[in-house]
Point group: C2
Chain length 197, copies 2
C-alpha cells in the first residue's frame, strides 16, 4: 500500500516523497488541490482540506499547507502565502521590508494525514529564521530564496533538497508523521501492513 500525497505543487510532492522513501514508505502523487477555506489558522485550513479530499480520495492520504509569517508585517503573508507569492513575489516582500531592521520570520507546515475515513491526524513543523536582503539560490520554490533559517548563513533555496528537508518546516512535519506511522506498528498489525506493504 502507498500513501497518497495530495497536492498540486510538484516541489512539495518531491520533498515529502524523499523523506518517506528514507523510511521505506511508498507514496504516489495525486495532483489535486482540495478546497481551502480562508482562515488565519493553517491547522484549520488543513483539516478542511482533508475533509474535502475525503469526498474524492480513498485514504490513506495526506494534505498539507504551509505559510511564511513575517513578524514585522503582523504575520503577512501568512495563510495566503502562495497567492501572495504569485502576485508580488520575493521582490514585493523585500520592498515591503525596505528599511526594516526586524527581519524575523517563520515558516510553518501543517500536514493532515487521513489514515482511514474516520481518522485524521495532524502534524506540524516550524522553522524560525530571517528574511534576507536579496534573493539567493536556485533550489526550492516560493519564498525559499529570501528565507535564512536560524543558525545558517544560506537561504533555503541555496540548500539541495536533502539539506532543506533536514532543516525545513515541511521536513519536520513529515518526520513527525513518520514517527506516528512507525509507532502504529507496536499497536496494530494492520497498521504495520499499511506502512510496510
Amino acid at each position: 500500500m502507498e500513501i497518497k500525497i495530495v497536492t498540486s505543487n510538484n516541489h512539495k510532492y518531491d520533498e515529502i516523497k524523499r523523506i518517506l522513501e528514507q523510511f521505506d514508505i511508498k507514496s504516489v502523487w495525486i495532483k489535486y488541490n482540495p478546497m481551502e477555506i480562508q482562515s488565519e489558522y493553517i491547522h484549520e485550513v488543513v483539516i478542511y482540506k482533508a475533509i474535502d479530499a475525503l469526498t474524492m480520495i480513498q485514504p490513506p492520504f495526506l494534505v498539507e499547507d504551509s505559510a511564511l509569517f513575517i513578524h514585522s508585517l503582523g504575520g503577512f503573508p501568512g495563510p495566503y502565502s502562495s497567492y501572495i507569492y504569485n502576485k508580488i513575489g520575493n521582490k514585493g516582500i523585500l520592498k515591503l521590508l525596505e528599511n526594516t531592521v526586524n527581519r524575523e520570520a517563520e515558516f510553518l507546515c501543517v500536514i493532515a494525514c487521513c489514515i482511514q475515513k474516520n481518522i485524521i491526524k495532524i502534524f506540524s513543523g516550524k522553522v524560525r529564521g530571517f528574511i534576507s536582503h536579496s534573493e539567493k539560490g536556485e533550489f526550492g520554490f516560493g519564498f525559499d530564496p529570501i528565507f535564512i533559517p536560524e543558525g545558517y548563513q544560506k537561504t533555503l533555496a541555496e540548500m539541495p533538497i536533502e539539506k532543506k528537508n533536514e532543516v525545513s518546516h515541511r521536513g519536520k512535519a513529515v518526520k513527525k508523521l513518520i514517527k506516528y506511522l512507525v509507532s502504529m506498528e507496536s499497536f496494530n498489525k494492520d497498521s504495520y501492513t499499511f506502512i510496510k506493504e
Copy 2:
C-alpha cells in the same frame, strides 16, 4: 419582512442599509461572517458564503464580498483584500507601488441574495479607478483612502457615505439587487409582500 444583511463589517452594513432604505426596503444586521473559501473568484467565494449562511440563517438574507484589484500587481490584493489590509494597510500598498507609473485598479463587489432556501441570486458592481500617491479622507474604510474612482479627483474616503454609494462598486451591486427585488413585483404577489411588508 426584512432582508438580513449578513456581515461582520459595520461599514458594509451601513452602506447597504442606506441604499435599501431609499427604496423602502427594511434591513436588519446579522453580525456574522460565514465561512469563506480561498478562491481568486469573488463570485465563487460569495456563493459558498451564502451556502454556509443558509445552514444558520433563515432567508431572505444577503452576503457580500469585495476586493481591490491593482493591475500592476497582477490583481493583488484581490480576494484576500481584508486580510492584506489588516496586515500591511494602505501604507504597504503605497510602498509596493513606489515608482510605479501604472496605478490603475478596480474595486469589485459581489452580493449573493438568498430569497428562499433554493434561490440564490448574484449581483455585482465594479468601479474602475487609480491608486493615489498618499492616503486621503476620513470616511469609509479599508482601501478607500487610496482609491480614486475614474472621473473623480477625490478618494472614496473623501466622499460621505451617500456620495460613495453613488459611485462605488458596492452601491452599484446593491442597486442591481434592488432592481431585481422590485421587478419581482410584476411577477409575483408574494414577492411584492416580501419587498414591501
